[in-house]
């Protein structure tokens, strides 16, 4: 078993190195969420005074959890795209021609996305703090947000890895980018659900992203709360489990023709 653990660790590390050495690939997951944060904080600054808006210090404080999870989600695309690149380039064949644990190939990618999203969360917190952010949940709250975001990122990464394994095309994986955007817009990412109405509110309520964001958000704006944290984390973990199962099935299908 220790060799399997070594394979997991090794391929996770490779996945991280892979991402870090393509700075251009990290830009979307770092820059876009920050740009959204800056624009919305400026444009919607006064909206926090609307009746029914949660009690927050600033729109920045309201939105930072969204920005962090958004960063984790955008970063997850890279996991699937890199997986597909490995298949396209033949590195995947190199791996499976060795006695490597088959699952470590995809777990490595997902774990890499988790790690990246986890540290990215603190980077975003740090930047927002320069602009006056206060986190009511303190360090524990920040840790909670980072864990929810990393788990959600890993969950989306497992879906994107599944697409990567199935399609074997990095372009197809990148094509799922608009899907993540749509999911974000149809959630309470940029506005509280209490101020929505009609079908839009219904859609945002069904969207698991709303619940993860609201759970993480409450740790920032209302303080540390174990139940809130576990609620968000369990939804993210649920997504992760489903994603891993789907990607394992995709991997099995791809390996079906191999001994």
């Amino acid at each position: 078993m220790s060799s399997v653990a070594a394979h997991y660790a090794l391929l996770s590390k490779r996945s991280l190195v892979n991402t870090i050495r393509q700075p251009i690939a990290i830009i979307p997951s770092l820059m876009f969420p920050l740009i959204f944060l800056a624009l919305n904080s400026a444009a919607l600054a006064e909206s926090i005074n609307l009746p029914g808006f949660p009690a927050v210090d600033s729109f920045l404080q309201f939105m930072i959890a969204t920005t962090i999870i958004q960063g984790g989600l955008f970063g997850s695309i890279a996991a699937g795209a890199d997986m597909a690149t490995d298949i396209e380039g033949g590195f995947f064949d190199r791996l499976i021609a060795t006695p490597v644990s088959r699952t470590s190939i995809l777990v490595g990618r997902v774990a890499g996305a988790f790690t990246l999203a986890f540290f990215q969360a603190f980077l975003f917190f740090g930047i927002a703090m320069l602009f006056g952010l206060t986190v009511d949940g303190g360090f524990l709250g920040m840790l909670g947000v980072a864990l929810i975001s990393a788990t959600a990122g890993a969950g989306f990464a497992s879906f994107s890895v599944a697409i990567g394994i199935k399609s074997g095309s990095a372009e197809v994986v990148q094509g799922s980018f608009p899907l993540i955007f749509t999911l974000m817009f149809l959630s309470s990412a940029f506005f509280p659900r209490t101020l929505m109405s009609g079908w839009f509110q219904d859609a945002a309520t069904i969207n698991p992203l709303s619940h993860m964001i609201e759970s993480a958000r409450s740790l920032v704006i209302s303080g540390w709360d174990v139940a809130e944290f576990l609620y968000g984390l369990s939804i993210a973990a649920g997504l992760l489990v489903i994603g891993i199962v789907i990607s394992l099935l995709a991997l099995r299908a791809r390996l079906a023709d191999k001994a």
């Binding site: 090794l10 190195v17 060795t98 001994a259």
Partner: protein
């Protein structure tokens, strides 16, 4: 595991593979002995890579069986993977990683400890001449460097059986020579090598035994010398001075061997004695007063063998098709 699979590190019986309706490999038998360099020669699309992928557990056979290092490639795939080194055709190497990192990665995948991996990795990098470039990203490597790294990667767990799928395709002559030297050294150390190539010169230079594959079937098999001997004797082509009597020249040549059609202004015939007989021919022509302006001795090549069994020529063989003995000798 059968008895013969122990004697033969690579063995296949009626191995087949289809993709939909297309049969890529149509039933091939192989029995490769310990310590051989076996050359698998054929044009693009002949079924070479499909065969290698089946033997290296990367593709399931549609029918037939194969054993590598004594293990069934289907039912005992993991044991096969532990016993073999594989360098695939396109040298799929992550361009973002350094040579040293890739060696480490490959070592860990084979369950080699860190300390051992470092020592072996350093030795291998030295061996393939990549010590200076070890900490550079592979993306900056030349084609030859990549192939050499690929070879080093396939050797980290000291495999007894090595599969090289077109190891020098697209390389310049110097890089090709470096790979050939390394393969020879490995073979001297006891490694059994299965080599696919579309270059007849490569098969000729390296392989002790060759199988020629065409359209998924082995159409000829044997040592390079025996295969070429089947094609026939060397041909001597004599370019004549315009003043010379072509008919007289042909009569002289007929004393040595069967006549062969030749261009105007020259005559040609088989020369069973090969290079050793050339002096005799020249003397005889001189005695008959025939003025000669050029002599060319063509030894049969593997391309001629391929031509004889398939009626076609190997791709890229044209350049080497008329190379004489001297040019083919190891540089």
């Amino acid at each position: 595991m059968s008895d013969s699979s122990l004697q033969h590190p690579i063995k296949a019986e009626a191995l087949k593979r289809s993709f939909g309706k297309i049969e890529a490999v149509s039933g091939i038998d192989l029995a490769i002995a310990q310590g051989e360099i076996f050359g698998f020669l054929g044009p693009n699309g002949a079924g070479k890579s499909t065969t290698v992928r089946m033997l290296t557990t990367l593709l399931l056979p549609s029918a037939g069986r194969a054993w590598v290092a004594g293990h069934d490639v289907v039912s005992d795939a993991d044991r096969v993977r532990r016993s073999i080194g594989v360098a695939l055709q396109d040298a799929a190497i992550d361009p973002l990683m350094t040579g040293r990192e890739l060696i480490k990665l490959q070592a860990t995948l084979h369950g080699i400890s860190k300390a051992e991996a470092k020592a072996k990795g350093d030795a291998l990098l030295e061996r393939v001449g990549l010590t200076a470039a070890a900490d550079r990203r592979v993306g900056t490597y030349s084609g030859g460097m990549r192939r050499r790294l690929d070879l080093a990667l396939s050797l980290i767990h000291e495999p007894k059986v090595l599969f090289l799928d077109e190891p020098t395709t697209g390389l310049d002559p110097n890089s090709r020579q470096a790979i050939w030297d390394e393969v020879r050294t490995l073979n001297h150390e006891g490694t059994t090598v299965f080599l696919t190539t579309q270059y007849m010169e490569e098969a000729d230079q390296l392989a002790g035994r060759i199988a020629i594959i065409d359209n998924g079937l082995i159409v000829a098999e044997g040592t390079p010398a025996s295969l070429k001997a089947k094609v026939g004797d060397p041909t001597l082509q004599v370019a004549l001075d315009p003043s010379a009597d072509e008919l007289a020249a042909e009569t002289v040549l007929l004393r040595f061997g069967e006549s062969v059609p030749s261009a105007v202004g020259s005559v040609a015939s088989r020369l069973p004695g090969g290079a050793e007989q050339v002096t005799e021919v020249v003397r005889a022509l001189d005695e008959a007063g025939i003025k000669v302006v050029g002599l060319e001795l063509h030894n049969p090549t593997l391309d001629d063998v391929f031509h004889q069994v398939t009626g076609r020529r190997l791709e890229g063989a044209a350049a080497g098709a008329s190379v004489g003995e001297e040019a083919e000798a190891p540089a």
